[in-house]
């Protein structure tokens, strides 16, 4: 159980992150594609920041924001009677932000790729923006949405820096697989580190292969 705990924690974290990114990322991507406000590029840059920043920078600021001395950190402590930093919830927040571009950008590309004429056809047939979104834009973006979800899942599975900064290394609570590998190497347990690594490697490979397979099939059916 001790051995499996970090792996299960990684899976749980990835799954929750993926679901939250789906829920928040879909409307965010819609806004980024269809809004006409001028400062849209600023939001786009913020969303893309995790792509270029070292995870430690992100982790550091997140720690500052959610730590016991910040407003949010204190509010959370009062509300839920525990700290956000060094907790699983903190990990979810960190992973959410860190994997944001991996979900939002594929969603955005997919929405932008829907033929404008089809959207206008839907409006001209008396259907609202919301109806058009659910019955035209979303189904035609299926491939990009699957890609975004799978990538954010895989990326969360593979993250290390942010998780270590914000969550630390508490067994069963914040010690995910990637951190466990680092831990085992530090303790010179190369055997266990190897098993963890092999599992992560094969898992990530399978996920990516699945994404490329789906995309390939999609291209063929067009």
């Amino acid at each position: 159980m001790n051995f499996a705990a970090p792996l299960l924690l990684s899976l749980k974290l990835s799954l929750i992150t993926m679901i939250s990114l789906f829920i928040v990322g879909i409307p965010a991507a819609y806004w980024l594609v269809f809004s006409r406000v001028r400062w849209k590029f600023l939001v786009e840059s913020v969303v893309a920041l995790p792509l270029v920043l070292p995870p430690t920078v992100l982790g550091f600021y997140l720690l500052m924001i959610v730590g016991g001395n910040s407003f949010i950190g204190r509010w959370y402590e009062v509300a839920f009677n525990k700290t956000l930093a060094f907790s699983f919830e903190g990990l979810v927040l960190g992973s959410f932000i860190y994997s944001l571009p991996f979900a939002v950008q594929p969603f955005q590309t997919a929405f932008a790729g829907v033929d404008r004429k089809l959207i206008e056809a839907s409006w001209s047939l008396g259907r609202s923006h919301l109806y058009t979104f659910f019955f035209v834009i979303l189904p035609l973006s299926r491939q990009g949405i699957i890609t975004g979800c799978v990538l954010s899942f895989a990326h969360t599975l593979g993250e290390f820096g942010v998780v270590l900064m914000i969550g630390g290394n508490i067994h069963g609570i914040t010690k995910v697989a990637s951190v466990a590998i680092y831990d085992e190497v530090q303790s010179l347990n190369y055997g266990i580190a190897n098993i963890y690594s092999a599992i992560l490697l094969s898992f990530s490979f399978i996920i990516l292969a699945a994404v490329y397979f789906i995309n390939r099939r999609f291209v063929r059916t067009i």
């Binding site: 004429k117 206008e120 056809a121 839907s122 001209s124 047939l125 259907r127 035609l140």
Partner: protein, 292 residues
């Protein structure tokens, strides 16, 4: 009756038109490409906004810049047929046609609607499995299915080959008649205007230059001929005095003799759209014997 008066300025182009669309009739918006026809259609549908002007549909105000009224397309009772069909690729023919129908009880009319455009049996096909002509029929019946007050067609036949086009012109005429729907038809093809339109508005670089019945507009007068055939000139054989002009109408050829001088005066060329008229008072009609 629709009253339309619109102004809009783009970087290198201005639109300033006002005309009426008579109720229950087919009005053609005719002009060369770049005259602003499609823009007018998009503004009437609400997909684009004009800088100024007014669009009145009976007593309903669709657009009025002074009152700051701009109804979104969803709230205008329109059917829009796009040039490239714009069928939903992920929906079957049946679900495409049903898309604009909001009353559940009307869904049992689907079968009739689809058979009306001759696509019975194709209900479960996807757009990618249809020919261009079939796609256009689906687009037309999809637009009509919600019983709009105004049908807008944006060069609906221009993406099709000549043969399909010719056949669809007939069907289009029949179907529009059947629905009694006020129609605005954008085209740059004179033959189509003659075939389909009761009324024509001629547009040139963003201005209305003429309007009236096709005869008034294209011939400048009302012809009192017994026979009129609209077609395209396919050959002109002239000698110094007379010229034989061959005109193609549907798949029939008509030859007519005119003064060679007249050919020059009209600047008649192969490819021109022309009307052949016959004034004789004793047009003869024979019934073909093999028909009952």
């Amino acid at each position: 009756m629709l009253n339309i008066s619109l102004q809009k300025t783009w970087k290198e182009f201005g639109l300033d038109v006002s005309f009426e669309i008579p109720r229950g009739k087919v009005t053609a918006l005719f002009g060369p490409s770049g005259a602003g026809k499609s823009s007018i259609l998009r503004i009437i549908s609400g997909l684009e906004t004009a800088d100024g002007g007014i669009i009145l549909h009976g007593r309903e105000v669709w657009f009025d810049d002074k009152q700051k009224i701009h109804l979104p397309p969803q709230r205008r009772s329109i059917g829009f047929v796009f040039q490239d069909f714009a069928l939903f690729p992920h929906l079957t023919v049946e679900r495409n046609v049903a898309y604009g129908i909001k009353e559940k009880r009307r869904l049992n009319e689907l079968k009739d609607l689809i058979s009306l455009v001759g696509l019975s049996g194709y209900e479960r096909y996807y757009p990618a499995q249809l020919s261009g002509g079939q796609k256009q029929r689906v687009a037309l019946i999809r637009a009509l299915a919600r019983k709009p007050d105004l049908l807008l067609l944006d060069e609906p036949l221009s993406a099709l080959d000549w043969e399909t086009r010719r056949q669809l012109q007939e069907d289009l005429k029949k179907i529009i008649k059947q629905f009694h729907v006020t129609t605005l038809y954008v085209t740059h093809d004179v033959t189509e205007v003659y075939k389909l339109a009761d009324y024509v508005v001629v547009l040139e670089s963003g201005r209305v230059v003429k309007q009236g019945t096709p005869e008034e507009v294209f011939l400048g007068k009302k012809l009192s001929t017994r026979i009129q055939i609209v077609g395209k000139v396919v050959s002109i054989e002239s000698d110094p005095i007379m010229a034989v002009v061959t005109v193609l109408h549907d798949d029939q050829y008509f030859k007519t003799l005119i003064d060679t001088e007249e050919v020059g005066r009209l600047n008649l060329k192969i490819g021109n759209d022309v009307v052949i008229g016959a004034k004789s008072s004793d047009v003869i009609l024979f019934k073909v014997l093999t028909q009952s």
